[in-house]
């Protein structure tokens, strides 16, 4: 069974064999420090887009809920005029809130993907590449942002079909994209942080479901902060989703907004999110 002698394995390259693998003989030169992070972010985003291209079912199924919100909730409340929207039709008022909500749903469940990648061995392999954990998490956060952005485009189109008067100013749309990516980066880091704590898909699923609704209802996505009871107003103040909605509403509809502080809050929220998720990533790898 084991009689065959080990074949001699000279280190000299056999020209016939070596033909066609010359590039595999030299390691790629390492990228300079500051260029590493954007490169990793690019790599993770590219993977997310490739996956979306191969399988669009998630994109379509995830479009159902926001469509129903706008169609049923939006149109009904537009007719009853029960919510003070500052003079715009309620469905218009609602649309930015639903964009933010559907982006948040994607991001909040992003941690499940990390646990799946851990179980499948993909995460372990990525952790053995020259990628610092913070760069990996930042890359994943932006990848979640890209996924959310594609979803936001879908919701935006649905809203436009329903006759919502949205801006088509390219600069403002660019800012909308930035806000969606930033908000999703925060919520995906929150999700990946929880993933690093609970370590199992089922528990993360439960926690995700438990926190998405309070985050959604405890924000200005459905109604202005002014109609909320006092305690809910303080919840809304601490809720990054409210800042995301405020910015989106201001950009898309031209309502009064606090764009600079919204950006600042989302940015300041995302940074510790990356730190916490990176610190806990090691637990997932063990």
């Amino acid at each position: 069974m084991s009689e065959a002698p080990a074949a001699p394995r000279a280190v000299s390259a056999d020209p016939a064999r070596a033909h066609g693998i010359d590039l595999l003989l030299k390691p790629p030169p390492p990228r300079a420090g500051w260029r590493l992070l954007p490169a990793r972010v690019g790599a993770m985003c590219a993977v997310e887009l490739q996956k979306l291209r191969h399988d669009r079912t998630e994109l379509y199924t995830r479009a159902v809920q926001p469509a129903l919100w706008l169609l049923i909730f939006g149109q009904t409340f537009t007719r009853i005029k029960a919510i003070p929207t500052g003079g715009i039709p309620y469905v218009d008022y609602l649309a930015p809130g639903i964009i933010a909500q559907s982006a948040m749903f994607i991001a909040i469940f992003y941690g499940i993907q990390i646990i799946w990648e851990r179980d499948a061995g993909v995460l372990n392999k990525l952790l053995v590449t020259p990628t610092p954990r913070s760069a990996l998490i930042t890359g994943k956060a932006f990848a979640a942002g890209v996924k959310s952005l594609v979803q936001a485009v879908v919701v935006l189109l649905i809203a436009a079909l329903l006759g919502v008067a949205l801006t088509w100013n390219p600069l403002k749309l660019l800012a909308v994209a930035a806000i969606v990516v930033l908000g999703s980066a925060f919520f995906s880091c929150l999700s990946m942080t929880i993933a690093g704590i609970v370590l199992s898909r089922d528990r993360l699923m439960g926690i995700g479901q438990a926190i998405t609704m309070p985050l959604f209802f405890g924000s200005n996505a459905l109604y202005p902060v002014s109609v909320m009871p006092g305690w809910l107003q303080s919840v809304s103040t601490a809720n990054p989703l409210s800042y995301e909605v405020d910015a989106l509403r201001g950009l898309l509809l031209g309502t009064p907004h606090h764009l600079a502080s919204d950006f600042a809050v989302l940015f300041v929220a995302a940074a510790p999110g990356v730190t916490a998720a990176s610190a806990l990533l090691g637990r997932l790898a063990r």
Binding site: M1, I21, L25, P27, P29, G42, Q50, K51, A120, V128
Partner: protein
């Protein structure tokens, strides 16, 4: 994040040097004072029963598990202090199948080219070469979900090879594969090795493979090395001990006999607990 500027002595440094490597899960020492040296350019086989600590040792060497400074060096770089430099030298294929089923073969390899900083101009060609080197050129643009177990293993090999690693670490690369697929994996490893002169550290439960393809093997049991040498040396050693003991064995011992001699025959409560068997089964199922 400093580039690998080859500190003094690196040219002659061993590919892997573990000194008293110990790693515990809870109060159980999965690796328990492991001393291991893998020389540059050799194919080194790490053998041992389920639960011996092979995977844990490999995960320490690949920087996945944190170990104190001074315990593990890869080409002279300490895995505790110099993680990025170590990772740049490694290609790693874990025990379980780990290609991303939602991507094509080409995209799977391209991801690893990107995270190893292969420049944009060179990326496509390098990915093509890596895929061709493992005979996946034709299947490259199919989703990995449609691959057979043997193809996934070869794809993982391409992912590991695209960065031109100096040390290729393979944790049971042939588990669950049919004999032809097994030979295929080994032949591709051998061909690339011949061209690049890289070092290979491999674990396997197939003693015939270890005998045929490894330059040296170490037999690990309960977290430690119990026997070390070329397959021929180990076989001859057992043969000599047997004749010294006066045992009348007709056939000369095989590497499997050496394995049984070291790991003990029959069931061992400590080795191979439920987790190990379960994870092995899971891998086998995913492959099958």
């Amino acid at each position: 994040m400093t580039p690998d500027t080859a500190p003094p002595g690196t040219a002659r440094a061993d590919a892997v040097a573990c000194a008293g490597l110990t790693y515990a899960f809870g109060d159980h020492n999965a690796v328990d004072g492991l001393d291991l040296t893998v020389r540059q350019g050799e194919v080194f086989g790490l053998l041992g029963p389920n639960g011996a600590g092979k995977t844990t040792a490999i995960r320490c060497i690949t920087t996945l598990l944190p170990v104190p400074a001074g315990m593990v060096r890869v080409f002279g770089h300490d895995t505790a202090g110099d993680r990025m430099a170590v990772r740049r030298l490694l290609g790693y294929v874990p025990q379980q199948l780990s290609a991303d089923a939602g991507l094509t073969g080409r995209e799977n390899v391209a991801l690893f080219a990107r995270v190893f900083d292969v420049s944009r101009g060179e990326r496509a060609e390098r990915v093509t070469q890596a895929l061709a080197a493992v005979d996946l050129a034709e299947a490259a643009d199919r989703l990995a979900a449609t691959y057979s177990g043997g193809m996934v293993r070869r794809l993982e090999l391409a992912q590991a090879l695209v960065s031109a690693p100096r040390l290729l670490i393979l944790d049971e690369p042939t588990i669950g594969l049919d004999p032809i697929a097994r030979t295929g994996v080994w032949e591709h490893i051998g061909a690339v090795r011949e061209a690049t002169g890289m070092t290979v550290l491999v674990t396997t439960h197939y003693m015939d493979e270890a005998d045929q393809y490894c330059d040296r093997v170490a037999l690990m049991h309960r977290g430690r090395i119990r026997a070390l040498g070329t397959p021929a040396e180990l076989r001859a050693g057992l043969g000599a001990r047997r004749s010294a003991a006066g045992a009348a064995h007709k056939a000369p011992p095989t590497l499997e006999d050496v394995f049984r001699d070291v790991a003990g025959s029959g069931l061992d409560d400590e080795a191979g607990d439920f987790r190990d068997v379960r994870s092995t089964r899971r891998t086998a199922r995913r492959v099958g």
